[in-house]
């Protein structure tokens, strides 16, 4: 059986590594302790060494690619040995992890074989490993132990695993009849009447989001300012620009908003700031974070010096960053260091919302969708393209009037895009 080589974690805070160089090629003989590849994280390169003797039968990750910690990157086996395919199961006993204690489990989707759910043999409830207390509680609550994921040693079900697990829907039948006569489905697809919920361990990104957002909404005294902007002229400008650009790209409303926000920040430095423990850092540069939805979360890549970039530069860069974000290829310096952020849910038809500040930044702009609606202009009801912007402010840095003045400048710029040239 071939041995899987995994991306190792050399720090509990390491989430992914970039495979920069293979020092062995497919077909090369390798010995335990020999360097197979170099991996980079942050400003450090580490050597990935073989944990088994044999031949490097298959390289799974090309040079330059970033993969999460725990992902399979290669197989070591006897020359010519077949490697585990999607149906097989890679050897897990002799993985490449040197220090299991500091290694995070791989996200399930990245391991080729773990896509196949662990089959749960349809055993009798009595044969499920469980503590006596858990067994009694389960019996009393009418919970089928086979449907409970055990968190104890060897998958043993403990009392904690049962807390919150609902009993099957009450049925008029006496409890005895509730005992299942058919083998239950494996855990991934519980039948109705099984556990009321499924516990999915937090992925790294969800943990990070949880930690960061709790440190935001809790301790940061947020307040919110909303304004409605007329986007008629911005829409005209955009149409004209895109016509001009032809097939050299497209400028989106979001690009215009990013540019206008950056310019408005240069005139309202008070909103372009970080709250730090004992001081406020007012930035002279504008680095705009742009919230991007990725699978299972969001990340905020940064358009640096956005105030100094042209709309087409912003457009190209924003697209490239969003793309990298979705493929988890952002480097730390591409998602850190923002001085202010913009979150846009316009594409989801959200008219207006409030966003949570990304500390230490002092503000974030929530952008809704551009809606055509009737508006009174000079005594006439006319259809106009309108956009609602909501700014979340950290009151420790920004006061109401300060935030309002910034929003007013932003509104003026969007309503009269030529003002951006001033």
């Amino acid at each position: 059986m071939a041995t899987t080589v995994h991306m190792e974690a050399l720090s509990p805070t390491m989430e992914e590594g970039r495979l920069v160089k293979w020092t062995k090629q497919e077909g090369d003989a390798v010995k335990t302790g020999e360097t197979l590849a170099e991996v980079e994280t942050d400003k450090a390169v580490m050597e990935l060494v073989a944990r088994a003797d044999g031949s490097l039968v298959k390289i799974l990750v090309p040079e330059g690619k970033t993969v999460p910690v725990g992902a399979a990157v290669a197989y070591i086996g006897a020359p010519g040995e077949s490697i585990p395919d999607a149906g097989g199961k890679p050897a897990s006993a002799s993985t490449g992890m040197r220090d299991a204690g500091s290694v995070k489990p791989a996200p399930a989707a990245t391991l080729p074989a773990s896509a196949t759910p662990q089959p749960v043999a349809p055993t009798d409830a009595a044969r499920v490993k469980a503590s006596p207390l858990a067994r009694r509680l389960a019996r009393e609550a009418g919970v089928d132990l086979r449907l409970v994921t055990g968190s104890g040693p060897g998958g043993r079900v403990t009392r904690r695993d049962l807390e919150g697990v609902a009993a099957p829907a009450p049925s008029p039948a006496p409890p005895a009849a509730a005992a299942p006569t058919h083998p239950a489905s494996p855990i991934p697809h519980p039948p109705s009447g099984g556990a009321a919920f499924e516990d999915i361990p937090l992925t790294q990104i969800r943990k990070t989001i949880a930690r960061r957002l709790v440190t935001s909404l809790g301790p940061i005294p947020h307040f919110f300012l909303t304004t409605e902007v007329d986007m008629e002229r911005a829409a005209e400008a955009r149409a004209a620009l895109n016509k001009e650009l032809g097939d050299q790209g497209k400028v989106s409303f979001n690009d215009i908003i990013v540019k206008a926000t950056a310019l408005a920040l240069t005139r309202h430095r008070a909103c372009n700031a970080w709250f730090q423990e004992d001081h406020i850092r007012y930035w002279n540069e504008v680095h705009l974070g742009m919230a991007v939805a990725v699978e299972d979360g969001l990340i905020t890549p940064v358009v640096r010096n956005a105030d100094q970039k042209s709309l087409s530069q912003i457009s190209v860069e924003a697209r490239a960053l969003a793309d990298k974000a979705r493929h988890r290829q952002l480097k730390p310096d591409e998602y850190t260091g923002a001085t202010f952020s913009v979150s846009n849910l316009g594409m989801f038809d959200i008219d207006q919302f409030t966003a949570v500040i990304n500390p230490p930044e002092a503000g974030i702009l929530a952008v809704g969708t551009v809606v055509e609606k009737p508006v009174v202009v000079e005594g006439q009801v006319v259809p106009r393209k309108r956009l609602r912007l909501t700014m979340s402010c950290d009151h420790r840095v920004i006061d109401g009037a300060t935030g309002a003045a910034f929003l007013k400048t932003l509104k003026q710029m969007l309503e009269n895009p030529l003002a951006m040239l001033l």
Binding site: S11, P12, V20, K43, V45, M46, E47, V49, T336, G337
Partner: protein, 226 residues
């Protein structure tokens, strides 16, 4: 006082390729257990541009103009080394400290921040940008790039003491466009004998390492014989 020893080797001015060989050999010895202590190699390089594993060729702006260019196995992008820059290569076995690469990078930064504080220069981290910065993350005073094999480190840091900062114009340091490089001399703004400032910086860096890594320095005169 810690009982663990940090052997400090003052190597003087050493060509890059030679220093690289020393490091690799010392690291191999540390991995194999032939070297009982952690080592800090302190030296200076003749002008050289090095490309880390994350290098982008476009970050070398001008051609070398007679300057050697090395492509090496440390992390990070392109950097410049030259006279007036204190280069430190810690050969540290992390199994005796903490088996955590990020901890190591942050502690390396801490050692330099402590050292700079002793020199009267307020320096700090710039989250997301490994290295040591001044002016609220605007100016970079020390670059960091490391390599780890079986928890033993090599490569390390480059701290500008009296470096000719215009030399950095040839590159985009660390791949971050628009970074302003600075030096101890520039930050202090005081004119003092170059040699005195160098010696003071070396002392401060050793003290910084002692406190950050909880080690006791033992200074060894450099052996020039092979």
């Amino acid at each position: 006082m810690s009982e663990r020893v940090l052997e400090v080797i003052h190597a003087g001015r050493v060509p890059y390729g030679e220093a690289l060989e020393w490091q690799r050999r010392l690291a191999q010895d540390r991995i194999a257990g032939r070297l009982a202590h952690d080592v800090l190699l302190l030296l200076e390089h003749p002008p050289v541009i090095t490309l880390g594993r994350n290098s982008h060729a476009e970050h070398v702006l001008a051609d070398g103009a007679g300057i050697e260019v090395f492509e090496i196995e440390r992390g990070g992008d392109v950097t410049y080394h030259g006279p007036g820059q204190l280069v430190g290569y810690p050969i540290i076995d992390l199994t005796h400290h903490r088996q955590d690469l990020h901890w190591y990078l942050r502690t390396l930064e801490q050692a330099l921040i402590d050292a700079l504080a002793r020199l009267g220069v307020a320096a700090e981290r710039h989250p997301g940008y490994t290295g040591v910065w001044t002016g609220g993350g605007k100016r970079k005073i020390a670059s960091i790039g490391v390599h780890v094999k079986q928890w033993v480190t090599w490569h390390g840091f480059a701290l500008n003491v009296t470096t000719d900062l215009t030399a950095f114009d040839r590159i985009v340091p660390c791949g971050i466009a628009g970074v302003e490089m600075t030096s101890v001399e520039k930050e202090r703004g005081t004119v003092k004998g170059e040699g005195a400032l160098w010696d003071e910086t070396v002392r401060a860096v050793i003290q910084g390492f002692e406190s950050a890594f909880n080690l006791t320095a033992r200074q060894e005169p450099v052996t020039t014989s092979a």
